[in-house]
């Protein structure tokens, strides 16, 4: 693979990680908040 291909692959993996991390943060954060807010 040429350097150009490695760059494209790295950018593609970066987008994949972003699409993975955003919903995980929303859902994980949301479920944790339920415990924090309602647990009293």
């Amino acid at each position: 693979m040429a350097t150009q291909d490695v760059k494209i692959l790295a950018k593609k993996i970066g987008v994949s990680i972003l699409i993975y991390a955003i919903p995980l943060a929303i859902l994980g954060g949301g479920l944790s908040l339920i415990k924090l807010l309602i647990i009293k």
Binding site: M1, I8, K12, S16, I39
Partner: protein, 358 residues
Amino acid sequence: MAFDQSSSKKITRGTLTRDALISVILYALPVVALVIWFTYTGETPWKNPVRDYAHVSAPAFLKFLEPIFKNLKSWGFIALALGLGVLEFALGLYDNKWTPTERKIDIVCFLAPKFLVPPVVAYFSLTLLPTLLPGFANVFSWVPFWGGFFLIAVADDLTQYWYHRLHHQIPFMWRFHRTHHSAPYMGMAMASRQNFIYTIFFSQTYLTATLIYLGLGYPALFVTAIKSLITMTAHSSIAWDKPFYKYRILHPIAWVLERLISTPATHHAHHADSADDGIGNYKGNFGNMFFLWDVIFGTGLITRQYPSSYGIKFYKEEEWYAQFLWPIFKSKKEGSELAANGPEVGDEVETTPELVSA
């Protein structure tokens, strides 16, 4: 042509920001539903010492279906896909378009990921996640079954919607998804016909694996099985949805179905090689299990008709290894998007009419 070249120029920062914000609300919906539920009922299942609360609270009728879904996940879908494939052949739905090159691509893309993906996902789930998130295993196992089902369904499928949509709208990502659109026919094999790098970096695979690690494994079993069934039949050349459009009495069901889930009509439109006939919509219809995302984001087109031809205009029937493993292996076909110095997107290049496939 399947890359959204025209609209990629029109995709404004505003559109993406709007759709991203809508997505945040959609992702949060199941959590909000759970907050309302727990506030209303006063339940506090996280205090329950039973670690697999979600499993215990599963409705009785799902317990009955559990072995079916378990078998579907382990071997059932492979058997179902092969059975569907045989039926498609028997009905002659591939015509004479299944050339030796297409045959190799379909078979390699169907078989190879079944051996190569599970070890990677197993490593991610069993080694990487416990290392990155120690002590988080099953922390959300208190989520009731219906809540987990709703949450996984939205999380998995909306994530795949975005993953898919961006591969059509961001030029540098298109070639990782091109193999899925290169076939000039539709069939059950299309569901798995992907470049391996596209498949191995599926964001929703790892998101769902993480949610399973966090304790939502039981509802995930049902969601992923239903999703596989819908996705496979939406790609199949057997149009199961036709009777719903033909018989007037079924029209109300059709109206709901075609807006809720991917049907052969809406998903075939996504695989069309042209949008000129008003039926093809390769610029949209990105939904996999749910078509609802396309309805919400305005990327959907419902016509209740099927395109007359499929594929991509700039297809050069590239070698199977290039379609499966680009950019690791390149095509030797001159001018191909998958060639060493090929264009990022085919229609950036001026072409003579004879180079344009029908």
